[in-house]
Subunit: 276 residues, 4 copies
């Protein structure tokens, strides 16, 4: 993982999940107002699919970490030293997200699973990610430590939000908060990759320079502004789309009604009776 | 910003906002009990105006930080060093408050924006302010660090209160709490200015003296007592004013009713009929 | 304050307040179930009296700290050094409790004060006490620091509980929690006095000995067990007393009813008619 | 306690409690939906029994810590040093759990005890356990400190969950969360025993090796995944069992009804009348 790709990959995953959520939650929020039971069933199927995909990718992640050429191949201990603990740690992170994915599926598939458990397990998975990262970055240069500790803000913020969601379920504000932090995580992983392992033969960053640390702190805030803007844009796009769709459908109904009433008016005229 | 004016300016802004809130929230609270839909519309217009002004000032702040004679003029990197990171940091803070202002406007202008998002974004803006300040004051003399870290108490306290408001909306206790912390921030910025950059040719403070730090800690508490008193005074003034206005109006109505009943009594006397 | 009496005095105050609360809150809790409006008025008068006494003692505390023979007599700065900052700090703590007392009175005297503000201000007063203590104990021997930092657990725990009470008002669990922490504070102040300034010519404690610190940590837990037991005892005493009083009153009513029915039975016998 | 058995013993207790809870809470949750008052009485008896056993074991723990051959035998201070503070600390922990057990019993035995106090006292007992552990592990080798500090995550997480339960009672999500953390504590105590005091003559761990610390961090996460799986398994077993029992009973009822209707059908046939 200690290269550019190793950070770009998880970054892309978090980014995709975040972007998807920034569409899903507004959609759900606007549809909930309508409260049609048919839509609810559609959403359940959607949630199950999402959870299944999340589980699948986590399992792929575990297998990849274990069976890449220089991976541990499920060997943990060899005579007198641990084998590839980094890969094992990443496998552990993926494992938690897999558990969270399975819990999500169970919540929607079985009526016996209590609501909120899915959010709790996702909060625990996110917390574990932060927990492992926290002990991950000891004994590194200052910039490396700082850039990873900023990531922890996003991770633990997300875990806190999810823990609250376990109690206050279906709160759109908390859901959007989580979405924005997920996007932030995604873009920040990319940023870490660009800073610590500059691609395209760019010059390395001086990891002890104070002004670099100062810039990175500020840069983190910019990433979050961008994440908030993305969420806001997707939210308003969904809102516009649904409004237009609704108007169109209502327009059709009104048109049909108009046609009907025109017809009945003509009929009334012809028959000379007052049908209204 | 590293001078007296640089602290007096934000101090004044926070002070004005705090004072304004210490009038607005009591007003809203007392009017909410009446629940007239016309008043609600007035408050919405008020909120939009406030948010617009807040956005405007934030944008002015960004432009000022960028285009003052010794500002970065939107240049971020020059050959091998970052340009005026301090100004960029302040611009970032203003940017967050601008985003918060825009969110506030949207909450009241569009029915699609979920309630609570405005408070969440304001909480994030306040948190970011504290976050940037936190990494701002490394490698400074003890008094400088301490006086800024006290500011963080007010800032993070405010962010926590705002985050709770995102869930418990329109809670007058939390709103007054936030108001008092905003006034505290305002007056404390002034205090920082006076301590670190004494105006009027006053002697400098010894930044390593322990008793100075001890005094400043206590002084911070006095500022908060003052802030609480200001909020309480404005609250009671608003309360008295509204009660008097209400009595006056009711007095008029009673007067009119009395006139009417007198008139009807006379009419009754004249006509000899019992109209009551 | 840096002597035995200086710790025994605040200890006694907190202890008395805690003991009083351990009677008051159970009383209120049991009476609330009855929901008589007359009792409510009695409680309001009680609360006002309590708040007035609290304010009075706080003002006496401020005056005492200022005008004791070696106090600052309201002088803060003298040529080039601060005067008696310790006394000023204690005055500041008392000031906050005075403000909290006044707020409590206003909450019950004026219908315009929003409920919850009294708890918020009390939380702020408690927080300020802990805040000043926190910066109070730098540069002291380890045992001194440790014994004061344990006090902070009780203080900040109480502040947190009070902040929750500002939102969840009249929650008996939170009220008993606060009561127990107040008693703990009271007894712990006494303990600090005994450890740091042994009275009756006892030998001094070795302030650097590790086992002393270990014992003090455990001792703090014992104090809390004692505080919990005191609260539980008072709670059950109040509960028993009220039950007995209620039975007595009901007994009288039943007795009277019995007398009445006996009388009517005799009357019925005499008159030969069935009056029941 | 500084040996393998000293960690295996509390580990087993926590494990048993955790496993028992992972059966009890799902049972209660599924039965609550039925809301039969008879079941409620059964659960109360169950809770009282559990609390009594918990109290009993805590008292046994206190006595054992005091009266083992090398225990303090209730002597605390001897001339100039504290006697066996470690045993006293463990006694203190047990004392808190005993108090918690007694509170639990009182909550169910007496209608006067306010609901939520039992959870609050259990939260305080758990917090005290963590509090004493926190000051317990100073001046030890890095791995020893780390492995104990990981335990604190489980302990303080449990205390937080219990504190929330004091306010949000009977929340199945919080109850399962607490259950999983209790199991984690149990298995982790065993792990500590295996790492610090390897049984069966295994080689000692190098307590300063960085990779050992890294592995232990990850291992803690695996323990939690295992704890989550245990809770999930027990939850689904209980769910299946209850569903089958319910179906069986309903099946019987339907069978009886069928028999009855068959009988009445035959009667109807015989008598020629239509009884349905």
């Amino acid at each position: 993982m200690a290269n550019f790709k190793g950070h770009a990959l998880p970054g892309s995953f978090f980014l995709i999940v975040g972007l998807w959520w920034s569409v899903k939650y507004p959609l759900k929020y606007f549809h909930q107002k309508g409260k049609s039971s048919q839509l609810t069933r559609h959403y359940q199927r959607l949630e199950i699919t999402e959870a299944a995909i999340r589980t699948l990718f986590s399992v792929i992640g575990i297998l990849a970490e274990q069976f890449v050429p220089d991976g541990p191949h499920l060997h943990l201990y060899n005579e007198d030293h641990w084998i590839k603990l980094m890969n094992w740690q990443h496998s552990t992170m993926y494992l938690f997200f897999a558990v969270s994915g399975v819990t999500d599926m169970l919540t929607y598939l079985s009526a016996h699973t209590p609501l909120g458990v899915d959010r709790l397990v996702m909060a625990l998975a996110t917390f574990t990610e932060g927990f492992l990262f926290y002990y991950h970055v000891h004994n590194r240069p200052p910039l490396d430590q700082h850039i990873h500790s900023l990531l922890l803000c996003a991770v633990f913020g997300g875990a806190l939000g999810l823990f609250l969601e376990a109690i206050l379920r279906d709160n759109i504000v908390l859901e959007l908060f989580r979405t924005s932090l997920t996007i932030l995580q995604g873009t920040w992983f990319w940023q870490i990759g660009f800073v610590l392992f500059p691609p395209f033969g760019r010059p390395e960053w001086d990891q002890k320079e104070d002004s670099n640390i100062m810039f990175i702190t500020m840069c983190f805030c910019w990433h979050y502004v961008a994440a908030l803007c993305i969420v806001a844009t997707n939210y308003s796009l969904v809102s516009c789309l649904l409004t237009r769709l609704k108007r169109q459908r209502e327009g059709e109904i009104i048109g049909i009604q108009k046609l009907k009433s025109d017809h009945s008016y003509q009929t009334a005229l012809l028959s000379g009776s007052d049908e209204e």
